[in-house]
């Protein structure tokens, strides 16, 4: 029989600790991919590592290390973690940008606390912000989207909010949606989106 029995490695000692925080932060810059990945994974246990992790993520080119950093940040889930991800929404690297968006979607409370920063940014970032809002499991999601409809000066950002409301809006959104058409009266695509959203919401 070609089967052989494996030699079981020793069980971990009960008092074995995670590596020291400072060592792990240094290891985020280690030239070995595996060492950076290991450091990121352990740093998920340290809430104070959010800033270092976000800094490393911005520089990181390897997908497997990025994944580990994002998991650590999602696990930490603090406002510092969300805040550190927001600058990445402006990255030229689509993979990095999308990873930041996906991570922010999983942090409802912390992302909610960072909306001011997101909506004080460029049009592109505000559109990503709307995408995040649309997926956020937060009781204030709709009211935040309605604030975008009422206040954002850029029609494309408002159109993204209309699309998000198409998926999650209720009757409270009807009046703000109609008012949006008064703010942008000469935008046929917006007119179409709003009427589609209104039809969908009125049927709910």
């Amino acid at each position: 029989m070609p089967l052989i029995k494996s030699k079981k490695p020793p069980a971990p000692a009960p008092d074995e600790q995670a590596p020291a925080f400072e060592t792990l932060v240094v290891d985020l810059g280690n030239p070995q991919t595996q060492a950076r990945r290991a450091a990121a994974r352990w740093l998920g246990e340290y809430p104070e590592s959010a800033q270092a992790l976000c800094g490393a993520l911005a520089m990181e080119a390897h997908e497997s290390v990025r994944v580990a950093i994002l998991t650590a940040l999602i696990k930490i889930g603090s406002k510092a973690a969300a805040n550190g991800l927001i600058p990445l929404l402006q990255s030229e690297d689509a993979g990095l940008r999308n990873s930041a968006i996906e991570a922010l979607k999983t942090m409802p409370d912390s992302s909610g606390e960072c909306l001011k920063e997101i909506f004080a940014s460029s049009t592109d970032v505000r559109i990503f912000g709307v995408e995040i809002l649309g997926a956020l499991a937060h009781p204030d999601r709709q009211s935040w989207l309605l604030q975008v409809l009422e206040a954002d000066r850029e029609v494309n950002v408002c159109a993204a909010a209309v699309e998000a409301l198409l998926g999650c809006g209720d009757r409270e959104a009807i009046v703000p949606l109609r008012q949006l058409l008064e703010r942008f009266p000469n935008e046929p695509f917006l007119d179409f989106s709003v009427h589609t959203a209104l039809e969908r919401i009125e049927k709910r």
Binding site: M1, K5, A11, P12, R41, S64, I74
Partner: protein, 294 residues
Amino acid sequence: MALKHPTELADPGKAADFPITVDEFIRFRDFFHQKIGIQFAESKRYFVDKRIAERARIKGCESFADYFRMLRFDTSGGETQQLINLLTVNETYFFRENYQLEALVQFVLPEIAARKRPGDTIRIWSLPCSTGEEPYSIAISVLESWPESDQYQVEILGSDVDTRVLGSAQAGVYGERSLQNVGPDLRTRYFRKLAGEHQIISELRESIEFFQLNLSSKKEMSRYRNVDIIFCRNLLIYFDDVSRREAVESIFESLTPGGFVFLGHSESMSRMSSLFSPRRLGDCTVYQRPLEVR
């Protein structure tokens, strides 16, 4: 697994002999989640309450609060392990989702072997192994259907968080229901009759290493490296998002570059992580750790 606000949860505990309030259930659910990464949905409330009550009575606790206090200060881990054993699902049978075992012997093992030299070790891990049907099915498939098996040292590991099922796996005794997909030839070659049941022959039982392991523990998982193939079927669906991401990363670390993961037929790695590349092999999708780390 969607979580609801405590006030939205039904309270079946009120009607039971051993009352467990909604708040107590939430506290227990969070505690259990921290321990092994599995988070119970509202629909599991009755299942969970019943098993907590069973253990609490055995330990002579008069209330949930008494039992929960004992669990939190359970320094030996003995009682926590007893409860884990009761709360984890272990139903399986031989050659379950057999098309995956066919893909293993027809495509995956030849590809792994092509990167090795004759005499090298090929390591296959059944995680979780439950009562042993999966690792034994893997072993029988390798022996029966992979012609090159004699040229390599095939090492099969089986681990589970539930210590009770590991005892059953090592004993290798099964009823007719577990053997529903095992034909007469295989029964003759790999089983012997034992008091109306069927026991895996000793040669096979002794060739598989069974051990207790918690997939949610990075420390424990870090002990296992250089695995070529992992079967992790129908486990990750019970994990919450963060625990699932962490578990997938531990599996990635344990695999050799180019190694493969088999998931349950309803699970998709692409929905969990971008770490692996999906491969269509035979009738199933298998997930591969890239040869070169991206």
